[in-house]
Every structure is written in structure tokens, then in C-alpha cells.
């Protein structure tokens, strides 16, 4: 907690006005809280930036990369925007849903993996694009899905 506080003070110093650090601060708090922002994380950020938790919530809810609900240990994101769709993204999303037994937006019962469909990730030239824990896999084909999941499950 105090450690987050100190690190957010450092982020504040990057900017002429400290509120600009709210996005960095939320990202930091999210990482520290296992990939999502529980109410106490919003309070910590608010304290460190001299804003209110409601303010932090209004920011966190605006951007897709902040999560206000718990997520799995690993995040699997499949782009289904136009270029990826034309390259067969739906079959990739289906393969993940089938292997994991969840629908897009859901987390496996063991809390290991969250599956999400996402908008264009900027990898259209190597579509279909899958982003796993912020690392791009491009292109990823349906037949690559079981191996990738196996590798992820073995990873700590």
C-alpha cells in the first residue's frame, strides 16, 4: 500500500499537472491487484493522487484495458474487427471458447483464463491477431490454440 503510494508519487512527477498520472496509476494498481481494480485499489489511487475514488472509477470505466471485475490469471484476447474477421478470427475465437468452455467475456471456473473479444489491435497485416497477457501472437490459427493454452497453463 505505502509502496504503491510512493510509486504513484513518482508517476506524478512526470507531468506538469499530477492528475495526468491517473492512467499510469490505475495501470500500476491493477497489476498489483491481480489484473483488476477492486474498490480498495481505486481508493489507493485516489489517495495517492488527491482525487476521489469516484473520479478514479469514472476513468477506469471509460477505458477497455481497466477491469472492474475480477479476471483470470491469464488474459486471452482475440481481435474480431474487420481485417481479422476477414482472415478467419471467428474460428479462432470459437476454438478458444471450445477449449476453455467459456463464452467471450467469461473466465474459466478455476480462475486461470479470461477470454475476451477485442477491437482492432493493430496487427491487421498478420491477422488473425491474439493478444495473450499483453503479448501479440500474430497470426494465430485455430490449430495453434490447444498448444498455446497448454503452454500458458504450464507457465507460472
Amino acid at each position: 500500500m505505502t509502496q504503491i503510494y510512493e510509486r504513484i508519487q513518482e508517476l506524478r512527477r512526470k507531468y506538469p499537472q499530477s492528475r495526468s498520472a491517473v492512467m499510469d496509476a490505475l495501470r500500476l494498481a491493477q497489476t498489483e491487484h491481480g489484473g483488476w481494480l477492486p474498490p480498495e485499489a481505486l481508493r489507493e489511487v485516489a489517495d495517492a493522487l488527491d482525487v476521489t475514488p469516484a473520479y478514479c472509477h469514472s476513468i477506469a470505466s471509460f477505458y477497455d484495458m481497466y477491469h472492474l471485475e475480477p479476471v483470470g490469471k491469464h488474459m486471452v484476447e482475440v481481435c474480431t474487427n474487420l481485417s481479422c474477421a476477414l482472415a478467419g478470427a471467428q474460428a479462432v475465437l470459437d476454438a478458444f471458447a471450445h477449449e476453455l468452455g467459456v463464452r467471450p467475456g467469461e473466465t474459466t471456473d478455476d480462475g486461470e483464463m479470461t477470454l475476451r473479444a477485442i477491437e482492432c489491435a493493430g496487427g491487421c497485416g498478420r491477422a488473425p491477431v491474439v493478444v495473450v497477457d499483453h503479448v501479440y501472437h500474430e497470426p494465430l490459427r485455430p490449430e495453434d490454440v490447444p498448444g498455446l493454452l497448454q503452454e500458458l497453463r504450464g507457465r507460472e
Binding site: P16, Q17, M23, D24, Y63, E69, N81, C124, A127, H134
Partner: protein, 440 residues
């Protein structure tokens, strides 16, 4: 330099690892900065203006003219902000600049900062570009250690997933720690931008071209491309082409050359059906229109926009109603909700397109689709409100027969066999269910 195919932005990236400062210097990197710093700031800006460098981020506004609008003598600092939010569907050109030639962008920032008298630069990088952020951070550290910054601070700011933050005033709001919602204009950023101070905003690829302009001089630079838009652009080809990817070519290269000569034609030898030339936000072109040169004025004369030079190629297996629906789901998801036509209109269009695709529509729904588009176009605070209209209105206009077949035949004429059949959109996402299942 190959006179027929000059490479400016990505020069040297094939042969060298330009993420390394020593290698960038070995190809002449930071020499233009040295030359620029020996010049009066106005002389630097005059060179950029003479080169008619037009913005590569979407609107194609001349960079030099934008800089001439910067308010002077305000007693406030002047800021330079680089738009690296790149989230336009189909666009991935800036990503290659960031990850393959970060020093060219840094050098462009430093030259421009000298030209406009700024000591403070912000680079807004979309949150998903984590690797690109790391590359930029390391390159910046190397430039700083080498003493190249010359008293200028460059701050890397990370986004967190919001297409609208690519719109310049939404980007400024986001950079100030607010929700990324566009500002009413005027005042425009050159007068009242970041923290209320005069601000120059440019796209990554615009700024990364600046060192080449100083190196070559405006006269040489202007020999490349077309007179109304000199230079090159990195064209992002995606969709159903045989060899998708980024290709740097002169402005004025035709869509036909880009699709067939550069990207290997249509994958699997299929038929070309549609080309979206500037990212999903611009009107579609038909195969009959692909002799159009890709430069701002020519593509606009053909009824579309240059956008971010992101060319999405669609073959004959794709249902245009499904394509319009998937595009519109994106705009609905990304609408910031500030203005009614955009907030309500995008939702309405998604509902109408769903109804038509599912065979529940009739001819009056096609008129309604047009009517909703008319009521949205030009009626919103920012261009997203128009971007949300172009796919629907232009697909309907140019592929009307296919829309009519959906309503007349009470179902999709592709009968479940369209190439993008059943594509799931993030706007349909359920909230994660882990709340109940997480282990205590």
C-alpha cells in the same frame, strides 16, 4: 535511394536494427537534428512548409500550416503532442515506426520542438502497444544518455484502450487525466490545447518524416509523391490480399498497384469485391474505382478519404451487410456518448443492420437506414459521428442489391457461408462471471 521506390520512413530498417542508437547513427541518424539546431527555428518550419508535409494521421492537413497557427506570446509553454494512439481498424503503420525505427520519431520530435520553440513533448501511445512502448522507452533513454535531448523533455504516455482517444482533443483530455471525450472547437489546440496552452499535435508518421525533409531538403522531398502531397506513406494492406503487410510507397500510387503489384493480388485467386482505402472509417470503393491514386485529393475526388492509408481488401465471399454490421458495432462500442446523434444513431444502425441480416427487415428499413445516416452526418462534435455513417451509407449505396436481397429474400443470401459469418463483437461481451466463481 531507389528513384522508383524511395523509402523514407522505414529507410534502413531492412538492413539494420534501428532500435539501436549506434545503428541509427550509422545510417546518418541525428545528423538532421544537428543541422536543424544550427538553423533559426523559423527556417526549420519554412523547410517543412515548403515540403508540403501533410498529416499522415487522417485529415491530411499541412503540418507547417498547423504550426503557423500556434499562439505566440501567451506566457505559457508550447507543447508538442504526438498521436501514437493508432486504433483505426485496418491501421498498423505507426506501430512499425515505433518498434522498428524509434529514433527517427524521437529525432523528428526534437527537430519539430526546435522549430516551434517547445521544450516539452508528449507521445501518447495506445495501451495495447506494450512492446512498442518498451522499445520507445529504451530508445528514449539511449537518446537522453547520449545528450541528444538538448533540454527538451519527452514524456511517453500510455493509453488504456479507447479508439476515441485518437481524436486530437479527446487525446488531450485523456492526457490531462480525464475521460477521453472530445472538446468543442473553437478554441483549437494551437491556441488552447494541453493544459490550456498552445499545442501542436501530429501523427507518428508525420513527425517521423521530418528528419528526411531536413536531410533531403524540401526541393528533393517534393520530387517524391505528387505535387499536392509529396513524399511517401506506409500503406497497410490487410484483409483478403495474398501478401498483407506494411508497404512504403510514394503518394499517388494507385490502389490497383498496391493491391495487385505490391500485395500480390487477391488471396486464393478470388474475385475482388470491395476496397476500403483508409481504414474502416471511410467510404468503400468498388473494383471499378481502384485505378484511383492513393493521395489525399485523388481519393477524395473518388468519394472516399485517404484516412490512415489502411487498405482493407474484401473478396467475393463476404456479405456486405455483415461487414457493415461488424463495422457499426465497433463505432457503437467506441462512441464516447457525448452527443445524441452519435450515441443513439450508432445503436440504431446496429439494430437495423441486425434486423436486415436476420431477414426480419423490409424495404422501408433500407430507407430508414439512409434516414438515420442523414440525421447523423455532420451533426456531431467530432468526426467519429461521421465515421460511423460512412461504412453503412456507402455499402448501402454501392451494394444496394445485396441489402435488397436480404429483405426481399427474408434472410442472408450467403445462407450461412459468408467469410465473416457470425463474427462476435466485443460490444456483445458478457461481464466476466468470475465474481461468483473466484476462490475464496
Amino acid at each position: 535511394m531507389d528513384a522508383n521506390n524511395p523509402i523514407l520512413l522505414m529507410a534502413g530498417t531492412q538492413e539494420h536494427d534501428l532500435t539501436r542508437l549506434d545503428e541509427y547513427r550509422a545510417v546518418g541518424g541525428y545528423k538532421a537534428l544537428e543541422r536543424a539546431r544550427a538553423l533559426e527555428p523559423q527556417a526549420v518550419m519554412d523547410e517543412i512548409s515548403a515540403a508540403t508535409l501533410r498529416g499522415r494521421g487522417g485529415a491530411g492537413f499541412p503540418m507547417g500550416r498547423k504550426a503557423s497557427l500556434l499562439a505566440k506570446g501567451t506566457g505559457k509553454p508550447t507543447y508538442l503532442v504526438i498521436n501514437a494512439d493508432e486504433s483505426e481498424p485496418g491501421a498498423f503503420k505507426d506501430r512499425d515506426v515505433l518498434r522498428m525505427t524509434p529514433h527517427r520519431l524521437i529525432e523528428g520530435c526534437l527537430i519539430t520542438a526546435h522549430g516551434i520553440g517547445s521544450k516539452s513533448v508528449f507521445i501518447y501511445i495506445r495501451g495495447e502497444y506494450a512492446h512498442e512502448f518498451d522499445v520507445m522507452r529504451d530508445a528514449l533513454e539511449d537518446a537522453r544518455t547520449a545528450g541528444l535531448l538538448g533540454g527538451v523533455t519527452i514524456v511517453l504516455h500510455r493509453g488504456a484502450g479507447a479508439y476515441i482517444c485518437g481524436e486530437e482533443t479527446a487525446l488531450l483530455e485523456s492526457l490531462e487525466g480525464q475521460r477521453g471525450q472530445p472538446r468543442p472547437r473553437p478554441p483549437f489546440p494551437p491556441v488552447n490545447g494541453l493544459y490550456g496552452a498552445p499545442t501542436q499535435i501530429n501523427n507518428v508518421s508525420t513527425i517521423a518524416l521530418v528528419p528526411k525533409i531536413i536531410e533531403l531538403g524540401a526541393a528533393e522531398f517534393s520530387k517524391i509523391g505528387v505535387p499536392s502531397a509529396p513524399g511517401t506513406a506506409v500503406f497497410s494492406l490487410s484483409g483478403n490480399v495474398a501478401e498483407p503487410g506494411n508497404y512504403e510507397r510514394q503518394l499517388g500510387t494507385t490502389l490497383r498497384e498496391l493491391i495487385y503489384d505490391v500485395a500480390g493480388g487477391i488471396a486464393g485467386g478470388r474475385e475482388l469485391k470491395a476496397v476500403i482505402p483508409g481504414g474502416s472509417s471511410v467510404p468503400v470503393l468498388t473494383p471499378a474505382e481502384i485505378d484511383t491514386p492513393m493521395d489525399y485529393d485523388s481519393i477524395q475526388a473518388a468519394g472516399s478519404f485517404f484516412g490512415s492509408a489502411a487498405i482493407i481488401v474484401v473478396d467475393d465471399r463476404c456479405c456486405m451487410v455483415q461487414l457493415a454490421l461488424r463495422a457499426e458495432q465497433f463505432y457503437m462500442h467506441e462512441s464516447c456518448g457525448k452527443c445524441t446523434p452519435c450515441r443513439v444513431g450508432t445503436r440504431w444502425l446496429v439494430q437495423l443492420l441486425t434486423k436486415i441480416e436476420e431477414g426480419r427487415g423490409d424495404r422501408s428499413d433500407l430507407d430508414l437506414l439512409e434516414g438515420v445516416c442523414d440525421r447523423m452526418l455532420g451533426k456531431s462534435l467530432c468526426a467519429l459521428g461521421d465515421f460511423a455513417v460512412y461504412p453503412v451509407a456507402s455499402y448501402l449505396e454501392k451494394y444496394r442489391g445485396e441489402f435488397e436481397a436480404h429483405v426481399d429474400g427474408h434472410g442472408c443470401p450467403f445462407g450461412g457461408a459468408s467469410s465473416i459469418e457470425g463474427t462476435f463483437a466485443p460490444s456483445d461481451q458478457h461481464a466476466p462471471n468470475l465474481a461468483e466463481t473466484v476462490h475464496a
